[in-house]
C-alpha cells in the first residue's frame, strides 16, 4: 500500500488556505496511511484546523526563516519533511510557493513530479493522475513507477476538507536554515480599488481587442471602454481576463485599457482560471483563447459577429450585439 504525505504551507495568519484543504480531501481519498507535513513560521493553528482529519502523524518545520516563500528555504523544509515521513506519494497544493519549490525537492529525493493534476485516484491499487497537456487541449491519465512521486494538485478540482478542529500532536523536524543569497522584500499588489484579478470571483469577465478598435461612429472609445469595464468589475466583483491580442497592445503603444496587463491574459499563453461563469466581450473566441476557458462552466459572449468562434459550440449563449451598448445597460441595472 502507498503511504501518503500531504505537504502544506501556512498562510500569514498561520492557518491553511483552501487549496491545502482541497489537497487533504484528495490525499485522504487515496486511502493509504497519511502523514501531514506543515511548513511555516508557526503551525499550531494549521494543525488544530485539521486535527480531526485522521492523519497518522503531524510533522512540522517551523521558524521565521520558513515564513516567506523562497526556493532555498522551502526546498530544505520540504525535503526534510519528505525524508522524515518516508512516504511514497507526496501530495501538495499547486500554489505559487510549492510550484516553485517541489520539483527541485522531487529531484533531490530521486523521485518524480507531476504538476497541475486535476484528479488523483487509485486505479487497480495504484495512484493515477489526470492532467491536461498542450495548454488544456488534451487530457491524459498517467501513472509512474518511481517513488517518491510528488503530485501538485490544482485548486478548485475537489471539495475542501471540512471537519472538526482539535489538538494535534505535532513532531518538530529540525532543518538547518540553508545559506541563501535571496531576500524576499515584499509583495507588490494593485491598490484595492484597482484590483482586477479575483480568483474566487463567481464571474470571469473577458475583454477582447474589439474594445480598443474603431466603433460604429468611426472613432476609438478606449476611455469609455475603461469606464464601462471597471464599472462592471466593481459592481459585479468579477475577475478580469484579457485576450492575448488586447494585452499585447499594451506593450505596443496602441490605444489600450490601462489596467490590462499580461497578468490578466487568459488562454494559450495566459492563465486558465476556474470560475463558475464567464462573460466574453469583443473577443472572437478562437481556439488559442478559448483553451483558457476550459474550467469556466457557464459561458456567455457578446460579439458583433454571429459566426465567431463562440457560436461554434464554445459558448452557451452568444449575444450578437454591441458590447458598449449592452454593458452600459448592464452597469445601470447593477447600480440600481
Amino acid at each position: 500500500m502507498e503511504t501518503i504525505l500531504l505537504l502544506a504551507h501556512t498562510e500569514p495568519d498561520g492557518t491553511l488556505a483552501k487549496p491545502a484543504l482541497e489537497c487533504l480531501t484528495a490525499a485522504l481519498a487515496l486511502g493509504g496511511p497519511l502523514t501531514i507535513g506543515l511548513v511555516g513560521a508557526r503551525v499550531e493553528a494549521a494543525a488544530s484546523q485539521i486535527a480531526g482529519c485522521g492523519a497518522a502523524r503531524f510533522l512540522a518545520v517551523t521558524g521565521e526563516a520558513f515564513a516567506q516563500p523562497r526556493y532555498a528555504t522551502d526546498t530544505a523544509a520540504a525535503e526534510a519533511l519528505c525524508r522524515t515521513a518516508g512516504s511514497s506519494i507526496v501530495v501538495a497544493p499547486s500554489t505559487s510557493r510549492w510550484a516553485r519549490a517541489l520539483p527541485g525537492v522531487a529531484y533531490r529525493l530521486g523521485g518524480r513530479v507531476d504538476t497541475h493534476a486535476t484528479s488523483l485516484a487509485a486505479e487497480n491499487g495504484a495512484p493515477a493522475v489526470t492532467r491536461w497537456f498542450y495548454r488544456q487541449r488534451m487530457e491524459a491519465v498517467l501513472s509512474r513507477r518511481e517513488r517518491p512521486w510528488v503530485i501538485l494538485l490544482d485548486s478548485g478540482c475537489v471539495a475542501p476538507w471540512s471537519g472538526p478542529a482539535g489538538t494535534a500532536s505535532v513532531e518538530p523536524v529540525a532543518v538547518a536554515v540553508p545559506e541563501t543569497r535571496t531576500t524576499v522584500t515584499g509583495v507588490r499588489a494593485p491598490k484595492a480599488d484597482e484590483q482586477t484579478i479575483r480568483p474566487d470571483a463567481k464571474l470571469l469577465f473577458v475583454a477582447g481587442a474589439g474594445w480598443t478598435k474603431k466603433q460604429s461612429d468611426g472613432a476609438v472609445h478606449a476611455a469609455e471602454a475603461e469606464t464601462l469595464i471597471l464599472g462592471f468589475l466593481r459592481a459585479a466583483q468579477a475577475s478580469l481576463g484579457g485576450s492575448k491580442s488586447l494585452v499585447d497592445l499594451s506593450g505596443e503603444g496602441e490605444a489600450v485599457l490601462r489596467f490590462m496587463t499580461h497578468l490578466n491574459q487568459v488562454g494559450q499563453t495566459g492563465s486558465t482560471p476556474r470560475h463558475p461563469k464567464g462573460l466574453s466581450t469583443c473577443c472572437h473566441g478562437e481556439e488559442p483563447h478559448v483553451v483558457g476557458w476550459r474550467f469556466v462552466n457557464q459561458r456567455r459572449a457578446i460579439n458583433l459577429d454571429a459566426n465567431c468562434g463562440w457560436a461554434r459550440g464554445k459558448a452557451d449563449v452568444l449575444y450578437v450585439a454591441d458590447a458598449f451598448e449592452v454593458m452600459r445597460h448592464v452597469n445601470r441595472l447593477l447600480r440600481a
Binding site: P69, Y71, A72, T75, S96, R100, A101, P103, G104, A106, Y107, R112, V113, T115, H116, E123, A128, F133, Y134, R135, R137, M138, E139, A140, V141, L142, S143, R144, E146, T180, R181, T182, V184, T185, G186, V187, R188, A189, Q195, T196, I197, R198, G251, N264, T269, K277, L279, E287, P288, R294, A311, L318, Y319, V320, A321, V326, R328, V330, R332, L333
Partner: protein, 270 residues
C-alpha cells in the same frame, strides 16, 4: 559597472497554437497526429525568456546568451530561421523529442548536461532562463531540476521583471496568487529564472542579426547530439480530446437593454 552575465535560455518548440491537435497512442506512448508535419514556433514563454535575456545582455556589456534547445533537429532548423532574426544568441541544440508527453526529469538531465558542457562557461555568472511552463507539457518543473543539477538554489518562477541594481544584485518580480508579484533581491548569480510574459514586446525581425546568428546556428544543428528521452517508469493510461461541445444559443436582434436584463438575471442565478 555591472559584471557581465552568461545567460543560458532553455527553450524548445511547440506546435503553432492555431493548429488543431489530435493525440495518437503508439507503442512508445502518446504523441500528436502528424507531429512532424505540424508547423512549429518557439515556445511562447521561452521566447519571452530569450527576449528578456537579450535585453539584459544588451544592457550589460560583455554578457552572452545561449539558447539551449531540445527538439527534432529538422524542426529546430525551421523555427530558428525566424527566431534567429529577433535577437543575438548562440544555439546549443540537442536532437530529441519536443513532445508534451516527454518527462521533465529526463529533459532536465539533458538540458543541464548541455549547459554544463558549454565551453568556457563561467558558472559564477550564470543565469539559467526559460519559460516558467511550456505550451506543450506545461509542467513548470523542468527548470527547477536543471537548477538542482547545476547546483543552483536561487530560483524564481513566473518572473515578469528583473532589474539589475548598482551593486549587481537582481531585483526580481515573480507572479503569485491574486494578480500580485512577490519581490525578491538575489544578491548575485548564479540563479534560475522561469519567465512568465515579462514586459517586453516581441522584437522586430532584423535580417542582419539573422545572418550573424545563422552562421553559428547551422554548425550547431549539425553538431546536435541524439538525445532520446525514454520516459522511464512513466505510463499513460489514456490521452483524449475534451468531448464537450455546447449547444450555442445565438441571440440576434434582441435590444441591448433586454440582453442586459438577461445577463444580470443570469449573473444572479446560483
Amino acid at each position: 559597472m555591472s559584471t557581465p552575465f552568461q545567460i543560458a535560455v532553455c527553450g524548445s518548440i511547440v506546435p503553432d497554437p492555431l493548429q488543431t491537435l489530435e493525440p495518437v497512442v503508439g507503442p512508445s506512448g502518446p504523441s500528436l497526429k502528424n507531429e512532424m508535419m505540424l508547423p512549429a514556433v518557439l515556445d511562447p514563454w521561452a521566447g519571452h525568456a530569450l527576449f528578456e535575456a537579450a535585453h539584459l545582455a544588451r544592457s550589460t556589456p560583455g554578457s552572452k546568451v545561449w539558447l539551449v534547445s531540445l527538439g527534432p533537429k529538422a524542426k529546430l532548423q525551421q523555427v530558428m530561421m525566424t527566431v534567429a532574426q529577433k535577437v543575438p544568441f548562440e544555439l546549443v541544440a540537442l536532437d530529441g523529442p519536443a513532445s508534451g508527453f516527454t518527462d521533465s526529469f529526463e529533459t532536465a538531465a539533458a538540458l543541464a548536461a548541455a549547459i554544463a558542457a558549454i565551453p568556457g562557461l563561467d558558472r559564477s555568472r550564470l543565469l539559467v532562463f526559460g519559460g516558467w511552463e511550456s505550451a506543450s507539457r506545461g509542467a513548470g518543473s523542468t527548470l527547477q531540476m536543471v537548477g538542482e543539477r547545476l547546483g543552483i538554489a536561487e530560483q524564481f518562477q513566473g518572473v515578469d521583471r528583473v532589474t539589475v541594481g548598482e551593486d549587481g544584485g537582481l531585483e526580481i518580480l515573480e507572479r503569485i496568487e491574486g494578480g500580485r508579484h512577490q519581490v525578491s533581491v538575489c544578491a548575485a548569480p548564479p540563479a534560475v529564472l522561469g519567465w512568465a510574459t515579462g514586459d517586453l514586446p516581441e522584437p522586430r525581425n532584423n535580417p542582419q542579426i539573422g545572418m550573424a546568428n545563422m552562421r553559428a546556428i547551422m554548425p550547431a544543428l549539425q553538431r546536435a547530439k541524439a538525445t532520446p528521452i525514454p520516459n522511464t517508469g512513466l505510463s499513460f493510461a489514456s490521452v483524449s480530446l475534451p468531448k464537450q461541445q455546447r449547444e450555442t444559443r445565438i441571440v440576434k436582434d434582441m435590444p441591448a437593454e433586454e440582453i442586459a436584463r438577461e445577463i444580470v438575471a443570469w449573473m444572479a442565478e446560483e
